[in-house]
């Protein structure tokens, strides 16, 4: 077991190392941030001064070494644009992203699970067709379009909800729905397939033979077992939601981590992009590591096969 944990941890560290290397060099491929901080026509001296100030005049490998060294010290660097530590900016935005992810996830489960159950018990009929259409729309409509349509209807025409910003529960409704719909569709799809699998199992057949009512079979026997993969997916999706709500947060001017990443990309603020990606990647790597270890504890075959 000890060897297994060491090996899995090494893989995780290797993943983080590769991630740091990839993001460090990829952001630099996008161009020189100094050119976005001055007007065209700025003197070479001004551009050189910006390079020197941000350490961009050093060789790339030196910059990478400093970046990794700072990471080991828990320092994500200083934002070029905000002149503020990235970790501070990240922590400022994290509660907003967590709140949005939590509400969006709740909405997606509230919509996705009942719709998945309905679709699974009415295969080939109206609710199944409706569910498929819902899935198709949720996963194929771009979130910026969903966001803008919501703003147009609920802010501009009806005037019920604020179009942007944060601060009140009303501000949360549209971004949470726009973000949650995509995931609602995937939760519905998984619920449907999981339910169909469970409904076809021997113990459900036995329950039916024993004459249990359909509602009890679904609610008490099928749903509980079908829920396990859905909840596992939901847990992972929360982490994904926190880190990938770039478009939704930008459209609704929601002050979360996604928008921070958008700002970092827009201003070519390397430390912000690196910091957000490393934190997001770190979360996913840690979650996966914990899950792997838990699986190995629960099922010894996994660690023995590894």
């Amino acid at each position: 077991m000890k060897q297994y944990i060491i090996r899995r941890s090494s893989y995780s560290l290797l993943s983080l190392f590769l991630l740091s290397l990839t993001i460090f060099f990829f952001v630099r491929v996008t161009g020189d941030p100094a050119t976005l901080l001055v007007e065209p026509g700025a003197s070479a001296a001004d551009i050189a001064a910006i390079h020197q100030r941000f350490g961009l005049d050093k060789p790339l490998w030196t910059q990478y070494g400093l970046f990794v060294w700072s990471l080991f010290q828990g320092d994500l660097g200083q934002s070029f644009y905000y002149q503020t530590p990235v970790f501070e900016l990240y922590l400022d935005r994290l509660p907003n992203s967590l709140l949005l992810a939590f509400v969006a996830m709740s909405l997606s489960l509230l919509i996705g699970i009942p719709a998945g159950i309905m679709a699974s018990v009415q295969v080939g009929r109206f609710w199944d067709g409706f569910g498929k259409l819902f899935t198709l729309l949720g996963q194929s409509l771009p979130s910026f379009l969903v966001g803008l349509v919501l703003i147009l209807v609920f802010s501009v025409y009806l005037g019920w909800l604020p179009s942007s910003g944060a601060g009140t529960p009303l501000h949360l409704i549209m971004p949470a729905f726009a973000l949650g719909w995509y995931f609602a569709a995937s939760h519905m799809r998984l619920t449907r397939s999981s339910m169909l699998e469970v409904l076809g199992s021997e113990y459900i057949k036995l329950a039916r033979l024993k004459g249990l009512p359909q509602s009890m079979i679904i609610a008490k026997h099928a749903f509980k077992n079908a829920l396990i993969p859905v909840l596992t997916l939901a847990g992972i999706n929360v982490v994904v939601m926190v880190n990938v709500a770039v478009v939704v947060e930008t459209v609704f001017a929601w002050p979360g981590i996604g928008r921070l990443l958008y700002e970092g990309i827009t201003f070519r603020d390397f430390p912000i992009v690196q910091g957000v990606v490393i934190m997001g990647g770190g979360m996913i790597v840690i979650v996966n590591l914990v899950i792997d270890i838990l699986y190995a504890i629960i099922d010894p075959r996994i660690r023995l096969e590894s």
């Binding site: 065209p40 001296a45 501009v156």
Partner: protein
């Protein structure tokens, strides 16, 4: 020190200043004194709140004038929080602000500023000569090396007088000090020394019409009227700046009454804004755009022939492109590099669109069937304009291929002189005709692919010319030569479109020439106020 030869003062309507005389000095001083007269201060207490929907994320670096990087955006905050000795104001390219007057020595080797009595910072401390000296010395933004290399010493004989001694005459000193950089914006020395640079960015104190209340990086900035502001007490009590990056969301927020002012409305949304009851579309003019011919100095290139460049300029259908992309609001000045708001601007004849004449010129130049003009490089953000121009050129037989490039890579390639064919250039940097021409049309300029010795000679002459009228004549001549030789074909001075909601009375858009944001903030009013 001699006060007979005065510098600064008001620009004419076209920003075309003939020079400085005793009368100018009297007028300048009078303006400063009048502006500062307590009797003119607004009697009513500030009231209400207005909310801005900004297109960019607000950064704490904008709270500190020392960090001004050379882009115009931070001035949207500087004009509220801080004040400068001299700064662009409505109707005046260089208006007396914290300095009630200034004078230049006859030999051009020193400038003396007299500080305004009663001007104070938000913490109640008076603005002194030591603050001015400190602010300049800590300035590390755009052109700081250039400025510091030319200043021999800063003297503060008493708290109300500051003297800048130059190493050699520099006619553009005031342009750089008061408009092209943030060096002339004053911060309180004692406070900055006490809290440090980081502390200052977290809780800035300035001498501007609004004081800092709170800030969430990238999200929201709240300011409150400063009742001790020397010029007037602002009419609106509270200003809130919210960052709303998406253009459609900004317009929705304005339509829904969530914000009162929005910046940077794209052409397609401007039409919707104009249709909306109670909303007003505001226009201010920013960067001149042009088509540059980087191969014009290569005798083997078709662009070497003046007639070909003239044909390209004649082929551009500016009026229709303007109508299609900026609803006709962009300004067709005909001056490629210099905007009308700049000092020493020269007005060329109105640019013409004549496809027949363009074809005739091409035929005379040996291209009766047109020619393949190679790539047309542009900043990808303005590829819509570029596409329209490429189509215009094609109508005359000039076949160019559009090459939109991401902004940073575009300006890097432009400045490193890597491009061939055609380049669509633009610049919104502050300055005057001399600073603009130096970058784009003179030998050694960051974006000049070649040079003309006679233009370089005229440029050198103007750089040491102390007489403003003679200097203006030299700079006019250079612009005329740039125009006649079609070093670049002018496109337009871009219209920056903004939106204003019904709660706003005076928005101040367009009052400061060449400045795309609302300012001066103390002049903003609520409707009916």
């Amino acid at each position: 020190m001699n006060s007979e030869q005065q510098s600064g003062g008001g620009a004419g309507p076209a920003g075309n200043r003939p020079g400085f005389t005793r009368r100018d000095l009297v007028a300048l001083s009078a303006l400063g004194l009048v502006a500062g007269a307590p009797g003119l201060a607004r009697a009513a207490a500030p009231q209400g709140q207005l909310i801005w929907g900004a297109h960019v994320s607000l950064a704490p670096t904008w709270f500190d004038p020392a960090e001004t990087s050379g882009i115009i955006t931070p001035f949207m905050v500087l004009y509220a929080l801080h004040d400068a000795l001299v700064k662009p104001m409505p109707g005046q390219a260089l208006a007396p602000s914290l300095a009630q007057s200034w004078s230049a020595a006859e030999d051009g080797l020193s400038y003396e500023f007299v500080l305004r009595k009663g001007a104070k910072f938000h913490n109640g401390e008076p603005v002194t000569a030591e603050d001015v000296k400190f602010s300049f010395e800590r300035y590390r933004g755009a052109s700081h090396e250039l400025m510091k290399s030319r200043i021999a010493a800063i003297e503060t004989p008493d708290p109300e007088h500051v003297r800048f001694r130059l190493k050699e005459p520099w006619p553009d000193f005031l342009t750089f000090y008061s408009s092209a950089t943030g060096a002339g914006w004053i911060v309180p020395r004692k406070y900055v020394e006490r809290v440090g640079d980081d502390g200052f960015k977290k809780a800035p104190i300035g001498a501007g019409p609004y004081k800092f209340v709170s800030f969430t990086p990238g999200v929201e900035l709240t300011l409150e009227a400063f009742d001790g502001y020397w010029r007037k007490i602002p009419a609106v009590k509270r200003l809130v700046f919210k960052s709303i990056p998406d253009g459609s969301t900004r317009l929705a927020a304005l339509k829904g009454g969530e914000v009162d002012v929005i910046y940077w409305v794209s052409g397609e949304l401007a039409e919707e804004l104009q249709r909306s009851t109670g909303l007003t579309l505001k226009v201010s003019h920013t960067a001149p755009f042009w088509v540059y011919f980087p191969e014009q100095w290569d005798p083997k290139s078709p662009w070497h022939d003046l007639r070909v460049r003239q044909a390209a300029s004649l082929a551009i259908d500016r009026k229709n492109i303007n109508k299609a992309i900026t609803f006709g609001y962009s300004r067709l000045t005909g001056n490629s590099f210099v905007p009308p708001s700049f000092d020493f601007y020269w007005q060329p004849p109105e640019p013409a669109h004549d496809i027949g004449r363009a074809k005739q010129l091409l035929a005379e130049a040996g291209h009766p069937n047109g020619f393949d003009a190679g790539p047309y490089y542009c900043d990808a953000a303005f590829s819509g304009v570029a596409e329209a121009i490429v189509n215009s050129l094609r109508d005359a037989g000039i076949r160019a291929n559009l090459r939109p490039i991401e902004r940073a890579a575009f300006f890097k390639g432009y400045s490193e002189k890597k491009f061939k064919g055609l380049i669509q250039g633009a610049s919104a940097a502050f300055g005057n005709a001399a600073t603009r021409l130096e970058a784009f049309a003179v030998k050694g300029g960051s974006y000049a692919y070649g040079n003309h010795p006679d233009i370089d000679e005229l440029f050198q002459k103007q750089a040491i010319e102390q007489d403003q009228q003679r200097r203006a004549a030299l700079l006019h001549k250079i612009q005329q030569l740039v125009h006649e030789r079609v070093i670049a074909a002018p496109i337009w001075q871009l219209a920056a479109l903004s939106g204003v909601g019904p709660r706003v009375g005076e928005s101040t858009f367009g009052l400061i020439p060449g400045y795309p944001w609302t300012s001066p903030y103390e002049d903003i009013t609520l409707s009916g106020g």
